[in-house]
């Protein structure tokens, strides 16, 4: 009986086009020197477990979970992370410094990092990565209503803090 060679699946999922987006997202979520590692780890997971449904929220959801695991493992608290990241970046991250430089984008970045993790993720996924609420919900493993709530809260808090900085 002739042997049949196992066929390689015709379409192999290639996560490479998502590398830049994932790196950007992870860095803004608090990853710094380990962002590249986390992206690689995310890609490895895609080999172990091919995407189900929409790829985008699935990939970002994996990356976010890996970041959470790493933060837990490293014993870093969420509140401590922005400070840690600040010392490792070129961009001004301290809100006070950013105000002095009148750099709104830097202030927004710094203030975004002070948001609770899920609010921050919802805001970034929605605003910087073009997710709709369904996709945000899939990435955060929550309901769409919850995803909306996180986004609304984040946007209002950030608006107020940016304005309050203006008033100083």
């Amino acid at each position: 009986m002739p042997l049949e060679l196992a066929r390689v699946p015709h379409e192999i999922f290639d996560p490479e086009p998502w590398r830049g987006d994932l790196l950007s997202f992870l860095r803004r979520m608090g990853a710094s020197h380990d962002a590249e590692d986390l992206v690689q780890e995310t890609f490895l997971r895609t080999v172990e477990r091919p995407p189900q449904g929409s790829v985008k929220p699935w990939l970002f959801g994996i990356a976010l979970n890996l970041l959470r695991d790493r933060v837990r493992r490293d014993g870093r608290t969420e509140r401590a992370r922005p400070t840690l990241v600040a010392s490792q970046r070129e961009a001004p991250i301290d809100p006070a410094i950013a105000v002095e430089r009148n750099d709104l984008a830097a202030r927004a970045q710094a203030l975004t990092e002070e948001l609770p993790e899920r609010q921050r993720a919802a805001l970034l996924l929605r605003v910087r990565h073009g997710f709709d609420y369904g996709e945000v919900a899939a990435a955060l493993h929550c309901t769409e209503a919850t995803a909306r709530q996180h986004f609304y809260l984040a946007l209002k808090v950030l608006r107020d803090r940016l304005r309050d900085g203006d008033d100083r």
Partner: protein
């Protein structure tokens, strides 16, 4: 800071969420667009939301014009709201039933659960009701707190808003939305709401 608490940077409460969606790039319905075209408060709120989102995207270096209403503007906006609501009532709805609660004139919706508790006190447990306070101080109790004022008019809506219920951020799905006709609006899920009446912000005392 609690983002649920409405402040003078927010749009009108019934359109505020749609404004945030619009700022994020979503399409909005015709009602919202029409309202936006004639509401200065919502226009300012939308500009602030857009400015914030642009800042997060890193695409701007200055904020949009400040969404802070001047005292005069606020009164003009409030007057417009009163006129618009009045015109709407006159056009589309039968004359409201009026319930006399001592010093308080109450105009409850059909499904409102309104109870008179005393000479100057009423309690609204569900539904919507407009209260017209006379010169004497009146008190309206709601599940989230009590509103007291004199010589003011406001509408209180008590009930769950399912789209706002957060399954992991909110322990209580009771939502109280308060609209003050001659002032501003307070909306709260978790925080104590405030009411602006007769030009004065008043904190609503908790239960």
């Amino acid at each position: 800071m609690n983002a649920h608490a409405t402040n003078d940077r927010d749009g009108c409460p019934e359109f505020d969420f749609a404004l945030m969606d619009l700022a994020a790039g979503d399409a909005v319905d015709a009602t919202t667009r029409e309202h936006l075209a004639r509401c200065g408060r919502c226009s300012l709120a939308l500009a602030a939301y857009r400015g914030t989102i642009d800042a997060v995207r890193g695409s701007v270096t200055t904020l949009a014009p400040r969404a802070r209403m001047s005292f005069t503007w606020m009164h003009a906006a409030a007057a417009l709201i009163v006129i618009a609501l009045g015109a709407r009532l006159a056009r589309h709805e039968p004359p409201p039933r009026v319930v006399e609660v001592a010093a308080i004139d109450a105009r409850p919706s059909d499904d409102a659960a309104l109870t008179r508790l005393g000479a100057d006190t009423a309690r609204l447990d569900a539904g919507m009701c407009t209260f017209l306070m006379g010169a004497a101080m009146g008190v309206v109790q709601t599940p989230l707190g009590a509103i007291s004022c004199n010589d003011c008019a406001f509408t209180v809506r008590v009930g769950p808003l399912p789209e706002l219920v957060d399954d992991d951020a909110c322990n209580d799905d009771t939502h109280v939305q308060i609209e003050v006709l001659r002032g501003l609006v307070a909306t709260s899920m978790l925080d104590q709401p405030r009411v602006l009446a007769a030009g004065q912000w008043m904190t609503i005392s908790g239960p």
